[in-house]
Subunit: 311 residues, 2 copies
């Protein structure tokens, strides 16, 4: 079995290649839920849905999140009520949130609902939320006395307020979802997807037992740097890593992951940094990591499997 | 002040005329909520919404309920999850339910949310749910041991199972919404809209204090028969009245309302029944009651106001 630690778009693009490169039912994906938020009373899981829609071949190819050919009739109608609609949820996407919310209210766990949703989308890989408990990634920004939820900083404020600290509210008391620690203990290989190290991988690492389990299996852990040539491919990683003292480069990623990750795949654009990565005690593999299409995703996935000695 | 007791489409069509015939802000509409239902976790109020959308000039002109130019993207997407979608909610309509549900969860009463929604639709008449408590109109059908909610009988089963009894679960413990009893006590005139006597007006009458208040003001109460020439204009009134021993005619309506209603407006098609209506002790007025367009609604409203001696 393969375990993948995943955030949103970057992970989704990698995973769409991984399910082509190996048997999908052998893949166990642990997905960040720190960005989950309640909008209009509905439980929205941005990263779970990005991965689900992408693996189903139904994601919006331009944004990488949300569904293709989406309409926004409900949001347009909600504007009438003066409800805050800065987080634009598409109509078909809303159906997922309605279904999830209703099932959660009926007493199902997020794990159970996630299985129902991924089954409905006919996804063979197993997707699991990192926890069934509520963990909220909170962003402390300069000049604000209290931190704001990640989506507020990212979507409403467009990452403009400069970040001074990030915390994962509820993480210390949360339990990893059923099966997560077992999967980490028994996996043939553990892949850290090319996701934001601070707010995608960070919340997963903050759950009790997860980092220790990874350290224990360090020689089986392989990561892919989400930073290419000193910048994230997509998303706000640079605005989060810098202020938290993580160099915005594949070397910074290697340093942040070094205690639990034995191999890091970096982009060809960073070939000159191999030495600096290996100086962190992490084996460095150079590859084309820019996943411009499914073929590129699959090629990267095949390389990762080979480097991880997965047959 | 005028008070109107209202169900769905028939009442909505009458009220669109009433707001043209008199000052809208003088009208206090008490709306049936016995058909309210939770669908997909959302609190749906079919009668409140039919009246709201119609008064806003935004209802679907063909059905009389729902919004004009509606799309059903969310329902189509929900089908994927195997959730029951026999009650088709339009996308723009869903925004109303999302807003309402969210506000109710936040602790607002249905009265408060209804005011917010009617304000958002710029409606000047005051719309009030009959109660802020949960009352469910239940239909007992032949061959079933337990009754089913009204929408299930009406929409899912298309009124096919024959009715043996109707009950209003929760009505005896429910309180009329704030302002309802006061309005009935002080109204210059009380209009019973042309709505289903059993399941639209019946639940309102079943609330503690309402029928007594009407009896007390009997000489101020004027009704419009929803039955024309022995059949309802729209809806399943015939399938409910007959089995409950109410003759499916304006005479049957007069008999059912006689204790609290002093005047009944019947259609020109029923001119021959004036004597039979008046034999119930109810003054009978003959008029064109088929509200084929807004002009017809307004003419009927003007006649009702005149007969009610409202200047």
């Amino acid at each position: 079995m393969l375990v993948a630690l995943a955030g949103g778009v970057g992970a989704a693009r990698f995973l769409r290649g991984l399910v082509r490169a190996t048997e999908p039912s052998d893949i166990f994906v642990v997905v960040n839920t720190g960005d989950d938020e309640i909008f209009h009373g509905l439980h929205v899981c941005p990263d779970l849905d990005s991965v689900t829609y992408t693996l189903a071949g139904k994601s919006n190819p331009e944004t990488g999140w949300g569904l293709a050919n989406e309409t926004f009739r409900v949001m347009e109608a909600l504007d009438r009520f003066g409800a805050p609609t800065w987080f634009r949820l598409g109509d078909a996407d809303l159906a997922t949130h309605l279904y999830r919310t209703q099932r959660l209210h009926a007493g199902a766990t997020l794990s159970e609902v996630t299985t129902e949703i991924t089954n409905a989308f006919e996804i063979e890989a197993r997707l699991v939320p990192m926890t069934n408990d509520r963990v909220s990634t909170m962003i402390q920004t300069a000049g604000n006395t209290s931190p704001m939820p990640m989506q507020e900083w990212f979507v409403l404020h467009q990452t403009r307020p400069s970040v001074t600290a990030v915390s994962f509210e509820g993480a210390s008391l949360a339990r990893p979802a059923p099966g997560v620690l077992d999967a980490l203990e028994t996996a043939d290989s553990i892949i850290v997807c090319p996701s934001n190290p601070v707010i995608s991988i960070g919340p997963i690492l903050a759950l009790p037992g997860v980092r220790d389990a990874l350290v224990e299996r360090r020689d089986r852990v392989i990561g892919i740097s989400p930073i290419i040539a000193g910048a994230p491919v997509k998303g706000p990683a640079d605005k989060l890593m810098g202020p938290l003292g993580i160099e915005v480069s594949c070397v910074g990623v290697a340093r942040a992951y070094a205690d639990f990750c034995s191999t890091l795949v970096v982009d060809v654009a960073d070939a000159a940094l191999v030495g600096a990565v290996e100086a962190q005690g992490v084996r460095c593999v150079v590859a084309h990591t820019l996943m411009t299409d499914e073929g590129a995703s699959e090629a990267l996935a095949r390389l990762v499997l080979k480097e991880a000695n997965v047959p």
